[in-house]
């Protein structure tokens, strides 16, 4: 079992019979994009992932869509299956070649892994080979499914196991601790279990600082080549009025949709727009990180149940010093300020939205930028439907579609069924 502080043991291109550059071979999850690695000497075959993938949707060479390519799953000289892009013609030296697609499949279900718990499990159990059973992350998996949280991204470098897992978790507003109940949990937010202990007396303390306050978040998501392709800005107007505008940028490299970015930002903002009491208490009860304690202590200005975020356990005395964070004040109203995208005509199969007069105009595009024409589009939350025109546009009355996050259920002329999240500002 490798420790969490050890680099994640990715295979290197040097494992192949020949290679262009010695690089880690990536693992890819959900909707994601990434650079292709040269696989054969004649520069017609390039590797996208160190495992089979659900599909590759677009290939971009020097910023332009590539023609004449196909996705293949091949076995390399070591017997390992790879996801390759095979070109009809050799590619020039020095060009940038990026592919966009849908990554690793769950080894048990064969489904695309997008639930954050599945991705964390795969990293711990199958790449780091730590023997982590999927059942240990069952609660986290269920919480992510209830919140419709999906991730997509790539593991391409030699970061530590812990750093990779925390990167995934922090993107969606979750925590990871190897000794925590269930390993991961959504925080802030998430479903709390019954308190394991009630703290009414003993050593306790609480501190609060202005430095922890943030009431205007910009959540950056949809990372490609280290840069975000989209951002969502939300704020808490009442707390902006109270404390002044205190902005923060949340980098969410594993978030690929505006809807998830909005959800994550909302949860974080509801916590961080309010003053945060950092509380330490002591108990003899065997409470783990991630479990909940009820605080009702005269030295602590907050009464309530909160998850444990840190623990220092002294085996000689049986005493644990627990660290918690509790917000003070009313839960803020969160306002969606704006959504913006990087200038890039090429996107995943997705949707962009705008308002024209009294209509919401939604434009659907395929991964290569072509319009999704003559498709039936249903706004799931509202139960209203319409058809896209030749330019991939569909229109809904603005009074029926107020600002917020929605899911579009799309049926194309080819019979493909798509589920596309969208944010109306």
């Amino acid at each position: 079992m490798i420790p969490l502080t050890a680099p994640l043991p990715l295979r290197q291109t040097t494992a192949w019979g020949g290679y262009r550059d010695a690089r880690p071979i990536p693992h890819r999850y959900g909707q994601c994009s990434g650079e292709l690695l040269q696989y054969n000497d004649s520069r017609t075959e390039f590797c996208w992932a160190d495992h089979p993938v659900q599909g590759i949707d677009a290939v971009i060479v020097n910023g332009q869509p590539a023609g004449e390519w196909e996705h293949r799953t091949v076995t390399d000289v070591t017997g390992r299956a790879l996801a390759l892009v095979v070109f009809g013609q050799p590619q020039d030296e020095g060009v940038s070649i990026v592919a966009r697609g849908r990554g690793k499949l769950h080894p048990a279900t064969g489904a695309l892994m997008t639930n954050p718990a599945d991705v964390v499990w795969d990293v711990l159990a199958n790449i780091a080979v730590r023997g982590t059973p999927a059942s240990e992350l069952a609660e986290f998996r269920a919480a992510c499914a209830r919140a419709n949280l999906e991730v997509g991204g790539s593991i391409e470098g030699a970061d530590s196991v812990q750093a990779v897992v925390r990167d995934i978790c922090s993107s969606i507003g979750a925590t990871f601790c190897a000794t925590a109940q269930g390993l991961c949990r959504l925080w802030p937010g998430g479903q709390d279990s019954a308190p394991r202990a009630t703290i009414r007396d003993g050593i306790a303390g609480a501190t609060v600082t202005l430095d922890d306050l943030a009431n205007d978040f910009t959540v950056q998501y949809g990372y490609e080549d280290g840069s975000p392709r989209g951002s969502v800005q939300i704020d808490a107007p009442d707390y902006v009025a109270l404390h002044g505008r205190r902005p923060a940028v949340i980098e969410a490299p594993w978030v690929t949709s505006a809807r998830v970015a909005y959800d994550v930002g909302q949860r974080l903002l509801r916590q961080r727009a309010r003053p945060q009491w950092r509380i330490t208490v002591q108990t003899q009860r065997p409470v783990r990180v991630g479990e909940v304690v009820q605080i009702d202590h005269p030295a602590v200005p907050i009464v309530g149940a909160y998850p444990v975020l840190s623990r220092a356990y002294e085996p000689s005395t049986g005493v644990s010093t627990l660290g918690l964070t509790a917000p003070a004040g009313e839960i803020p109203v969160v306002r969606l300020v704006r959504q913006s995208s990087a200038y890039d005509p090429l996107q995943y199969t997705g949707a962009t939205a705008g308002t024209s007069g009294t209509d919401r105009v939604i434009t659907l595009t395929n991964a290569d930028g072509s319009p999704v024409a003559d498709a039936r589009v249903t706004v799931r939350e509202l139960g209203i439907a319409a058809q896209t025109d030749a330019a991939g546009r569909v229109v809904f009355p603005a009074d029926l579609m107020p600002a917020g996050a929605y899911i579009l259920d799309v049926v194309t002329t080819a019979g493909d069924v798509l589920e596309i999240p969208i944010l109306i500002v």
């Binding site: 490798i2 420790p3 601790c177 190897a178 000794t179 840190s310 085996p315």
Partner: protein, 105 residues
């Protein structure tokens, strides 16, 4: 009551007093060398969970036992109620009187 098991080759168990003997795994090497177990720290934002364990080494027992150090082996702190901490033996420090083991999750 806590004792330490290192799943090396061979597995070894370290305990403080004979009270622990009934709880130890039969058939594995046992050593009454456990002196103290440090604070077990866990944090969602901080360093990886870790703990230091100190063994007695006045007669060079640990120096001899760890001549081929089992670093990388699974190390468990156990009690009558079950595992207290499970990790990997990350580092070993020896001096004339003690041996300190660093265990990381």
């Amino acid at each position: 009551m806590i004792w330490l098991r290192i799943a090396g080759s061979p597995p070894r168990q370290f305990y403080a007093t004979a009270d622990a003997l009934p709880h130890l795994v039969a058939g594995e090497a046992r050593h009454e060398l456990l002196r103290s177990v440090g604070t077990i720290r866990s944090d969602v934002e901080g360093e990886s969970p870790n703990v230091s364990v100190e063994l007695r080494n006045e007669s060079g027992q640990c120096t001899a036992l760890f001549a081929l150090p089992p670093i990388g082996a699974v190390a468990e702190l156990l009690s009558e109620d079950g595992p207290v901490f499970v990790g990997v033996l990350h580092d070993i420090s020896l001096d004339a009187t003690s041996c300190t083991l660093g265990i990381e999750a």
